[in-house]
């Protein structure tokens, strides 16, 4: 089942790229489609942040734990213009440290 998702979504993502290079540009001339297409990545990434940080590991509940503190550290690192890997592993290290305490 996981393999189907990996390969199906993988090929699908390739076709989405190819479609962009192949279809006439006037598809994007529709302002609603252009706006929605710009907003979708922002909405999805924000939702993924919220779910990754707040969803309880056991399922349908929210919980504030070391992950939320780690996200705070990530915000500070981003404000300080730290590179991607520093942000990601900095957050991981903070969560790990908090759990040791």
């Amino acid at each position: 089942m996981i393999w189907w998702a990996v390969l199906g979504a993988g090929v699908g993502c390739y076709l989405l790229k190819l479609a962009g290079l192949s279809v006439p540009a006037r598809v994007l001339a529709n302002p609603v489609i252009a706006r929605v297409a710009e907003l979708i990545p922002v909405a999805l990434l924000a939702a993924l942040v919220a779910v990754q940080v707040l969803a309880a590991p056991e399922g349908r509940a929210l919980v504030v734990d070391a992950r939320a503190a780690a996200l705070g550290v990530a915000v500070l690192l981003l404000l300080a213009r730290a590179p991607f890997l520093v942000v990601v592993f900095g957050a991981a290290a903070s969560a790990a440290l908090l759990r040791l305490l």
Binding site: M1, I2, A5, V6, L7, G8, A9, G12, C13, Y14, L16, K17, L18, A19, G20, L21, S22, A25, L28, A34, R35, V36, L39, I40, P41, V42, A43, L44, L45, A46, A47, L48, V49, A50, V51, Q52, V53, L54, A55, G59, A61, L62, A66, R67, A70, V73, A74, L78, F84, L85, V87, V88, F89, A91, A92, S94, A95, A96, L97, R99
Partner: protein, 220 residues
């Protein structure tokens, strides 16, 4: 401003590509701790090759979502590459097999390093240098991260569960350029968090995509 030459374009593209290519390390480590095996992790980097979608699929699986929900989130995030393609097609001017090959390396960074070039030659140079270098590095670092991730023991002890949220935030951060985008991000996060309590894992992210559609349609 510095005159753009082939040399400066290659230099800038390599800088971006080397910095980005190493993210694969974090993707590889996160993916194997989310329930993908090393082969599946490497297949994602080879076939899907678009970082945010790959992280999304791993993230949804890791938080207990179904493979289908993970695949849908990955595909929705992949739609932005379609947008890049629409903008890049006249600039790059590829046809036939060249277009089919170029499509595979059509990602955030290769678009960014090509879209500002004054002519087709330099646009292609920026696009290919960035895209191909990232592809090679991304796949090598994915494998390294995945193999290392498998040796690491409990991912929670290392805070790797917290790393995923930070990775999404770091991908989101540079996109929050206007007040509208910030409002949409906040709304989507709230809707997704609310949906966590009432829908199966994986679904909240898809529900939040509805925020984008709604705002896009309602705003004039």
């Amino acid at each position: 401003m510095e005159q753009q030459t082939r040399r400066t374009v290659v230099r800038d593209s390599l800088g971006v590509a080397i910095a980005t290519g190493t993210y694969g390390l974090s993707f590889g480590a996160v993916a194997v701790t989310s329930g993908l095996d090393v082969w599946q992790t490497c297949a994602l980097s080879l076939v899907m090759f678009t970082g945010a979608s790959q992280f999304a699929l791993a993230g949804v699986l890791g938080s207990g979502g179904t493979p289908l929900a993970g695949a849908l989130a990955a595909l929705l995030l992949g739609t932005r590459n379609t947008l890049y393609g629409l903008r890049m097609a006249p600039l790059l001017g590829y046809r036939g097999w060249r277009r089919a090959a170029a499509a595979h390396v059509l990602i955030d960074e290769s678009t960014a390093m090509a879209v500002t070039r004054p002519d087709r030659e330099l646009a292609r140079t920026g696009f290919l240098t960035t895209g191909v270098t990232i592809f090679v590095l991304w796949n090598l670092t994915t494998l390294a991260g995945a193999v290392a991730g498998e040796q690491l023991g409990d991912p929670r002890d290392l805070g790797l569960d917290a790393a995923v949220g930070a990775a999404f935030l770091a991908l989101l951060w540079p996109r929050l350029t206007t007040p509208l985008l910030r409002v949409v991000a906040l709304l989507a996060a709230l809707v997704a968090a609310g949906a966590v309590t009432v829908t199966p894992a994986g679904v909240p992210v898809l529900v939040a995509a509805g925020v984008a559609v709604l705002v896009g349609v309602l705003k004039r």
